[in-house]
């Protein structure tokens, strides 16, 4: 058989010297492509396209309201950090909760009445997002709050409770900073906080908590909001401190009043 000659396979077909390189290229392309595909499906972001008009309006708002601290080009000054790459989600969280623009410098930006309407916030977000890619607003299904409450509660205890308290009542941090209470927070802001890690909060990336897990946490917080404590008034969910103060002031206080009444002399 002519095909079985020893010389020909060395130069042609699968025995060619180029075959190894070709195989390597195919393999790399396949894994790389698959990975890209996998990661792109895993990101929770909506594929939003911002119109040029929106970006332009956002730029104007930014120049008027934010540039004094963050710089005209949003590249940061001594008074405020660079916003290049923070994405529209960070803008939505910071401005949408009233933290930005800050009223005054302090240990951390305070929540206060929101200064802009949602359209303006979106415009500023579009402008910031146009500077460099960054986290965008999540898809509706990741902030729906219809996930696994039990899993969310477990994740919350492991990842969030050490600062925010198991019941989401908030807690102290160092140097006058604090983790705020989490009652009745808009789910998109909860999501935004986890993704962008505002102020002292660490970033919980999609590798750390998947978007579905973030939705579970949002579901747990929603459950806590919608189901008041079964035991009665919760005294701020602050644990034994408020309970101790309550029993001393109201419990023992009431009973001491009774003892005074019982031993009062009838005049």
């Amino acid at each position: 058989m002519a095909i079985t000659s020893p010389a020909s396979p060395r130069r042609f077909g699968r025995r060619s010297p180029l075959a190894t390189a070709a195989l390597l290229i195919v393999g790399l392309l396949a894994t790389g492509g698959a990975y890209a595909l996998a990661t792109s499906t895993a990101t929770a972001e909506t594929t939003t396209t911002h119109s040029a008009e929106m970006i332009e309006e956002g730029g104007k708002l930014f120049a008027a309201n934010c540039a004094s601290c963050h710089g005209v080009l949003a590249d940061g000054t001594a008074a405020g950090p660079s916003l290049i790459g923070v994405g529209a989600l960070a803008v939505d969280f910071q401005v949408g909760t009233g933290r930005m623009p800050m009223a005054a410098s302090g240990p951390q930006a305070e929540v206060k009445p929101v200064q802009f309407d949602q359209e303006q916030i979106d415009q500023m977000g579009a402008w910031v997002a146009s500077l460099a890619p960054g986290p965008a607003l999540p898809a509706e299904r990741y902030i729906a709050g219809d996930g696994d409450v039990a899993n969310g509660a477990e994740l919350f205890r492991i990842n969030c409770a050490m600062c925010h308290n198991v019941a989401g009542a908030g807690g102290a941090l160092t140097e006058g900073k604090y983790a705020p209470g989490l009652a009745n927070i808009d789910p998109v802001h909860v999501y935004g906080a986890m993704v962008t890690g505002p102020q002292n909060m660490p970033v919980f990336s999609d590798m750390n908590l998947t978007p579905e897990e973030k939705n579970d946490i949002i579901s747990y917080l929603r459950y806590v909001d919608e189901n008041p404590s079964v035991g009665g008034f919760d005294l701020g969910s602050l644990g034994p401190v408020s309970e101790g103060l309550f029993i001393w002031i109201f419990g023992l206080g009431a009973l001491v009043a009774v003892t005074v009444w019982l031993t009062a002399k009838s005049n």
């Binding site: 308290n165 102290a172 604090y178 459950y223 009665g232 008034f233 401190v241 309970e243 009774v258 031993t263």
Partner: protein, 540 residues
């Protein structure tokens, strides 16, 4: 026994009693002939309780303890202290499918599945907080009125042991649900035990049966909590009450009230009715609080897992001072000796707390030694008339409360918008320097009040009526107190510092010098009580 033989004859001379009375008489006689109960009833029934609101604080403690016993018994029907791991299948959604210990599962079942279970749990826990709080207030009353003096020193020690028992009962109970909060509390105790040099790790393994948390601790704490500690507590309460009867009750000075009598209402029938009613008021107050206010929502905390710790993790209030002491210690205090670490940040607070509690226990003996006062005291002293003791008490309160507040340093920081470090530094100051300031201020206030009393007793009170004399002089008219009011201001004793006296060998020992020094410190600033002669002179 004579009274029992007389009773039938006395009854016979009267009109023939009804059938009900005859039965009661017969039953009482039957029991008395076999138990001599009438002696006890006579003694108890004639025990006199003086009327003063502060004398009823111990009763609050007793009644809340009864509520604890009743509600605790209910809880034992449904609680299983096993640490076997199971999956939660109850009705609380955020925990469904979560692995947890049987103990936590049954504690959740009591809260969500057992009818009335949550109310009982809350009654039990609120009553426990009230129990320790009322003991603390009762102790303060006894301390500040000097009611621990002879012959009541032993009852003070028993009361102190009851306070310690209450804390131990509270802590073991707090740990039973095996939720994250209680587990963190146990972890702190484990840390304190392990900080003990040489034997710490051994004790920890002995207690937990394994490396923390092990699978034994809940069962062990349960036995302590429902059997051993309550048994000791009940026995101590029995002795406490017995000594209360033997020693009789103290009373505040007033006309007709002397060191040798007790003026008040007898147990039968007046006081028994009052106290019985008061029991139901205490019970009702606890149930009202328990039905309206959540306590220890264990479902929020989740099952114990050694890795997470929640913000705002605190012990119940009565352990707070220990937690606060740990929080107040400055960092970087560890001593490393031959490769072994002595965690002084944990050891120092532990030693300080033990010494503090020991000082409370032995205070009556210390004071008796310093004052050299061996007389019996049945008149409750007004706090102002013992300025140094009152000052010591105020200092102890500030010391305790500084540590107590430190246990909630994080909540103080968030709720008053302060820095956590600032709160800690301020409380370090309060705990270390505060007691001295409190002592000095309190002593001065007491002395000033004594002077005011003296002034009032001698010159009467200011009426605010200004009179112009014919010569043009203005005077304010003072009105004399009536005898009843004045008695309260002049009834206290005068004390003087002990003198140094040489012993049989003619020598003055160092012990003598210390004692005399302390005695001088105790009594050197004093306002002499008004004497009879001064009063007589004033009248003319």
């Amino acid at each position: 026994m004579t009274t029992t033989t007389q009773q039938p004859t006395a009854a016979a001379t009267q009109a023939a009693p009804g059938r009900g009375m005859r039965f009661t008489g017969w039953a009482a006689n039957y029991i008395d002939e076999r138990t001599s109960a009438s002696t006890a009833v006579k003694t108890l029934g004639r025990k006199i309780f003086p009327d003063h609101w502060s004398f009823m604080l111990g009763e609050v403690a007793l009644y809340s303890f009864i509520v604890i016993l009743i509600s605790g018994t209910f809880l034992t029907f449904f609680f299983d202290p096993s640490m076997t791991e199971v999956e939660y299948e109850g009705s609380y959604v955020p925990l469904q499918g979560i692995p947890m210990s049987v103990a936590y599962h049954t504690a959740l079942d009591i809260s969500f599945e057992v009818r009335g279970g949550l109310l009982m749990r809350q009654v039990h826990h609120w009553a426990a907080l009230l129990f320790v709080a009322s003991i603390a207030l009762h102790m303060l009353r006894v301390f500040f009125t000097g009611a621990f003096r002879k012959p009541r020193e032993l009852n003070w020690v028993i009361g102190f042991l009851l306070f310690v028992m209450a804390m131990a009962l509270g802590f073991t109970g707090y740990s039973l649900p095996d939720d994250m909060l209680s587990g963190n509390g146990l972890r702190i105790i484990d840390g304190m035990i392990k900080a003990v040099p040489v034997v710490g790790a051994w004790i920890s393994f002995l207690l937990f049966g394994d490396e923390f948390p092990g699978t034994q601790i809940i069962q062990r704490l349960y036995i302590l909590h429902i059997m051993l500690l309550p048994a000791i507590t009940i026995a101590l309460i029995g002795v406490h009450m017995l000594l209360l009867i033997v020693n009789k009750h103290t009373q505040f000075a007033a006309p007709g009230r002397t060191n040798d009598n007790v003026v008040g209402a007898p147990v039968m029938p007046t006081f028994a009715a009052k106290a019985g009613g008061f029991f139901f008021i205490v019970f009702g107050t606890i149930v009202l609080i328990a039905s309206l206010f959540t306590i220890n929502p264990i479902w929020n905390y989740g099952p114990y897992d050694p890795s997470p710790v929640s913000a705002g993790t605190q012990p119940d209030w009565y352990i707070g001072f220990a937690d606060g002491a740990l929080r107040l210690m400055p960092p970087n205090l560890d001593w490393v000796i031959f490769g072994y670490t002595l965690p002084m940040g944990v050891l120092i607070p532990t030693v300080v707390l033990v010494l503090f509690l020991a000082a409370i226990a032995v205070y009556p003996f210390l004071e008796a030694w310093v004052t050299g006062d061996k007389r019996e005291h049945h008149i409750a002293e007004r706090p102002r008339n013992a300025p140094v003791r009152t000052g010591i008490g105020a200092a102890a309160i500030v010391f305790y409360c500084g540590m107590w507040a430190a246990a909630s340093s994080d909540l103080i920081a968030t709720h008053f918008r302060l820095t956590l470090e600032g709160v800690i530094h301020a409380l370090q100051f309060v705990t270390v320097v505060g007691p001295f300031i409190a002592f000095w201020i309190t002593k001065r206030v007491c002395l000033a009040l004594q002077r005011k009393d003296r002034e009032m007793a001698l010159h009467g009170f200011e009426t605010g009526r200004i009179v112009r004399l014919p010569g043009g002089e203005y005077i304010e008219v003072h009105e004399q107190l009536d005898d009843y009011e004045r008695w309260k201001l002049v009834a206290h004793d005068e004390y003087q510092p002990l003198m140094i006296r040489p012993d049989a060998n003619g020598r003055i020992t160092a012990r003598q010098r210390v004692r005399a020094g302390l005695s001088r410190w105790f009594f050197e600033d004093r306002v002499a009580p008004v004497t009879q002669r001064e009063l007589e002179e004033q009248k003319h």
